[in-house]
Symmetry: C2
Subunit: 456 residues, 2 copies
Amino acid sequence: MRTTESFEITEEYLDNLRYAIANKNEVIANELIDDLHPADIAEIYEDLDINEAKYLFLLLSNEKAGYVLSELDDNDRDRFLAVLSNEEIATRFLEHMDTDDAADIVADLPKDRKKDILALISDLEQADDIADLLTYDEDTAGGLMAKELITIYNKLTAKECIAEIKRQSEEVDEIYYIYVVDANERLVGTLPLKRLLISNDDTPIDEICDKEIISVTTDVESEEVASIMEKYNLVALPVVDADGRLTGRITIDDVVDVIREDAESDYQKASGLTNDALPSDSVWRLTGARLPWLLIGMAGGIMGARVIGLFEEELQQFASLAFFIPIVGAMGGNAGVQSSAIVVQALASNSLGKIGILASLAKEFMVGSLNAVVISGVLFTYNLFFSPNFALTLTVSSALLIVILVASIMGTLIPMVLDKLDIDPALATGPFITTTNDILGLFVYFTLGHMFFTHF
Amino acid sequence: MRTTESFEITEEYLDNLRYAIANKNEVIANELIDDLHPADIAEIYEDLDINEAKYLFLLLSNEKAGYVLSELDDNDRDRFLAVLSNEEIATRFLEHMDTDDAADIVADLPKDRKKDILALISDLEQADDIADLLTYDEDTAGGLMAKELITIYNKLTAKECIAEIKRQSEEVDEIYYIYVVDANERLVGTLPLKRLLISNDDTPIDEICDKEIISVTTDVESEEVASIMEKYNLVALPVVDADGRLTGRITIDDVVDVIREDAESDYQKASGLTNDALPSDSVWRLTGARLPWLLIGMAGGIMGARVIGLFEEELQQFASLAFFIPIVGAMGGNAGVQSSAIVVQALASNSLGKIGILASLAKEFMVGSLNAVVISGVLFTYNLFFSPNFALTLTVSSALLIVILVASIMGTLIPMVLDKLDIDPALATGPFITTTNDILGLFVYFTLGHMFFTHF
């Protein structure tokens, strides 16, 4: 029994495993990995070179090998599939995997391999199911669903239902619900296993199944699927076609990935990354994810330089005006990012409620004002003691007061407006808001500087 | 049958509901909410005022009311519990709720109400369970678990087991696994319902249950719980005490919240928020979440001003040096945030792999160099045409080259070092990295400016 949470890969374990592989000692290699969960074996694979990994992979039972394959991260999997033959992929892995995992793997393969590999799968039903799943966009319910499910005709009794489950259950590992359909294959109910278990033998299924079904059609976006399963606390969600016929089911483990990726994607956008980037990605991919926003930031910087250029004369007279250029930009950026992050997250998790744009802005006006008064007050006090120039003290503090307040309000308003326009509000955060506030802040700062320095 | 994904609250629906409540028309009000899922009712509550909500709440069946209560967001729930009597909370809600949800609600109540309310629960076992759950830290497995589970003695047969499930199952809504214990209440196996269903009546449970149990002890942190359930694709995870005795189970729906909150928390830190903030929070809480980082940013800004102050002479001679102050700070900040976000996310999702610090830095050196060369090359070309001053052109481009490269490497290094020191790496991103890079960038920029302007 394993009471600890997860298996730890030790250096000693790895050395033993490598030694067994180097000596082609199948018995010891098998012993070392036999008891492990596929997810643990996938972790070990990251530490092996590609030939060691391949040797180990071909020792596993077909079913286990398929699980390990689906647990590998994208980079490792690509690297690994590249050294396997089409036949090995088809007969050793795809045939024994859940259809959704198998479809994910085929989808990532080069086009010319896809067809060949599908043709090599000898279980025709499995091949058909995979080919069917490949027709759906991967970011929809169709792309998330698996074909493995237990379907029961609604005219059966509990006893007949259990017999039918015994017949069908070989291909389905985890059953949470039985799906009840009518003569036209239309989904008419769901039945928790527990209820079936505690029913009398001759109870008609139709009487004990839940008729209030929550289901989605194949074209529903995966983010929507995630939010439905999260809202209603579902572990499995049936997927139907346009006519209400049952076509698949989505399980919570696949949706957990969607939820994590969603939340991460907002963070990435806020950090100025154009796509999902991993430290293990290639240099080119990593650069491609980062350069676009850097270029936009640079364009913003050039505009900032032009704004300052308008005030060259003032700068020649009062060089100290330059001292506080960074603080004005930075504080506008920080305040804007903060307020937009709050709105973006609330929009993402549907927790904005019905507050409405006007009420949100009114509140943000108060929060922004409070922050602005504190920051510019503290800086005013500091400058009273340490700055030689009262005009500069006035300029900086009044500029900060305006910039922080305006940046906070813009940070709240822009994501809300983008959301109404069906543009991803997360795009408004990060480099975009920082750059805009930079330019705006500079303009306010120098205009005020011009005023105060000529009057004091 | 509801084939669409979720219930939509229309204005018309709300008007009807408000009208029924205003006229105290129980029949119509009941009709309007009767078929709805508790999660949908919780959403409707956000649109009602507190007295309307209370009226509706007391119409619901006890069990349904408990579900709705657990689906409300924290602010709405607090507002709502404040207008209910201790007795109403105890007998109408807590008694009929899952123990984990009930414990969450009691945990948030003011101290003096907690004891009174627990004493008012007439189901003593339920009161005991809730009180027991309250002893665990809410960020641990103990704080996440519920007491509702089906426990079967390992010496029973499949048939006896089903009879026992019928007896126990009233208090457990969703059963995914049966937990098998020995005579000392120690967890010795798990049994998927499906396997029980397809077994023969006289099969001993001990023979068909899984002995490879993945479980956690009550003190395991909730983030660790989430990563175990995610890694092994579990819908339920048993929790044991230090002696291996079964004490509860954690279900995936509670863990989904942990996963979302984790991912969001990194985003919040990167955005300079000190705590989880919602648009519906009070002005004070929102200000408190934001002011600390703004003050740190301000302190950084003052240091920046001091750095520029060191070069006042150069600025008096060459005012145009000020033009590019913002771009140097901004680009350093952007590049640093990008590289640190990649590392922080990889650390959070355990996808950093075994790459190692040195290899990561070597790669980051290449990515950073590429970005730096492109950005400073583009800006150099721009300035060749539009800037009147070659020394300035040289200064800006060479400063950017250094700043982007250094910021990228620091952005990779700092989170990794913090992680090794067991400090949350997400703290390194956002305002901290932006501010540091600002100061560093200014120093590089002006030092180079001093060099180039005196030599060209």
